[in-house]
């Protein structure tokens, strides 16, 4: 069992390409999911501030269900559960759907908070000019809300990137699963998993720097 428990530089160098590939898949899955999550979250966020009881009710239920259940369970339901009602998905689409639906719920709450952070006078001024509710949202409320929520969206992206490791349970070969496969063939757990962690950090640290930076830049409207 030589090598177990010790960092093996040679092994590390040898598995770098595999880890890089896994990281690429992780980034790809997360990016696609956050994109769909943004679309879902924007619509659901709008519904969450809507006076229409149906929109409000449905979106609230969605947010509560997703936030009240573990992402792992959501993934398992979509991949292993849906075939019971005749929906068979391949692992990647199932994974992206699960991550999108999940991040959509969190983003909905970010969007809702962003809209509510804009003073009501902004909506009233826009409406008094003759804009429809949606025009006012689009041209007046959203641009301001978006600035305010950009850091929160960045944090959501980071969280989702880490949570995407759960997709390894439905045999998607993303970063974490790549690490596990290497461990299974090399019988060395220490080096590959440290490598996996390192690759996550190489993605998350620049992202959180970017979030910090945007937070500082977004204070005022004068500079442009």
């Amino acid at each position: 069992m030589a090598g177990v428990g010790q960092f093996d530089i040679d092994l590390f160098v040898r598995i770098l390409p595999d880890l890089a590939f896994g990281a690429f898949v992780t980034l790809e899955l997360t990016s696609l999911s956050i994109l769909f999550g943004l679309i879902i979250g924007t619509i659901a966020g709008l519904a969450r501030v809507s006076k229409n009881p149906v929109f409000f009710g449905v979106s609230t239920l969605y947010v509560e269900i997703i936030r009240g259940t573990p992402l792992l369970v959501q993934i398992l339901i979509i991949y292993f559960g849906l075939p019971a009602i005749g929906i068979n998905l391949r692992p990647e689409p199932a994974g992206i759907i699960a991550l999108s639906i999940c991040s959509g719920a969190y983003i909905a709450e970010i969007v809702r908070a962003g809209i509510e952070s804009i003073p009501t006078g902004q909506m009233e001024a826009a409406r008094s000019l003759g804009m429809s509710y949606l025009q006012a949202m689009r041209y007046v409320i959203f641009p301001q809300a978006f600035r305010n929520i950009l850091p929160a969206l960045g944090n959501e992206f980071i969280a989702l990137l880490k949570d995407s490791s759960l997709l390894s349970v439905i045999s998607i070969v993303e970063l974490t699963r790549v690490g596990r496969q290497i461990v299974n063939t090399t019988f060395n757990a220490w080096t590959p998993f440290l490598g996996v962690a390192l690759f996550y950090l190489m993605m998350t640290i620049p992202l959180s720097r970017l979030v910090d930076y945007s937070q500082k830049r977004l204070g005022t409207y004068e500079v442009k």
Partner: protein, 243 residues
């Protein structure tokens, strides 16, 4: 004589609280009506009902003879004909002065960009801000911001302008520049409803003065006459405190 704006038996309640109790008012084209009254008397609510930022509980509001409280009416179209200026300016902070004024003509009237820009520059010149068009609201003084807000409302070419205590949030030295713009507007023939505490403005520019208290119009007439000789005891009391 037909009226541009008629308010008929207007009532508005917030829950149990009846804020407007049977308000009637007629405004001719080009008339400047100044509305005064103590805090909480319903002045803002009256203006906000007229462009339906508040839904009236009962009564009618006729604009050019058409009832705009009718549910079948396109309220967005109606609001384009009624400009409003707020106490807190409510400029769009993410847009420059020019963009603030251009936004509605561009997006609602679908005016082309050059035309919208020309109109906006003309209006900003008119309110004395021709040299500030590319500044953001945060870079402007309160008086300048309020003048941009007036230009923004004028950009939709409204038939009536509503002013709700537009100088109340301003430092005293900035009040005059805003009132001067409003005076000019009145001279140009704009129909205006002005809620204000500026009695000098009421006297000089107002064609008619309305005194409101507890949700009713208590007294109305020529400003000078009401100031000199208020008939209702409540008007007398209010004016004795404020003048």
């Amino acid at each position: 004589m037909s009226y541009l704006l008629e308010v008929i038996n207007l009532k508005k309640s917030f829950g149990e609280n009846e804020v407007l109790k049977d308000v009637n008012m007629k405004v001719k084209k080009g008339e400047v009506v100044v509305i005064i009254g103590p805090s909480g008397s319903g002045k803002s609510t009256l203006l906000r009902c007229i462009n339906r930022l508040e839904e009236p509980t009962d009564g009618k509001i006729l604009l050019d003879g058409v009832d705009i409280t009718d549910k079948s009416i396109d309220i967005n179209k109606v609001r384009q004909r009624i400009g409003m200026v707020f106490q807190q300016f409510n400029l769009f902070p993410h847009l420059t002065a020019l963009q603030n004024v251009m936004l509605a003509p561009l997006k609602i009237k679908k005016m082309n960009k050059r035309e919208a820009e020309e109109t906006a520059i003309k209006l900003l010149n008119k309110v004395g801000l021709g040299d500030q068009i590319n500044k953001y609201p945060a870079q402007l003084s309160g008086g300048q911001q309020q003048r941009v807000a007036i230009a923004r409302a004028l950009a939709m070419n409204p038939e009536v302008m509503l002013f709700d205590e537009v100088t109340s949030a301003l430092d005293p030295e900035l009040v005059k520049e805003v009132l001067d713009v409003m005076k000019q507007l009145a001279k140009d023939g704009m129909t205006m409803l002005v809620v204000t505490h500026e009695m000098g403005f009421a006297r000089e520019v107002g064609d008619r003065l309305i005194f409101m208290d507890e949700g009713v119009i208590v007294e109305e007439g020529i400003p000078e006459e009401i100031f000199r000789n208020p008939k209702n005891p409540r008007t007398q009391k209010f004016l004795s405190v404020i003048l």
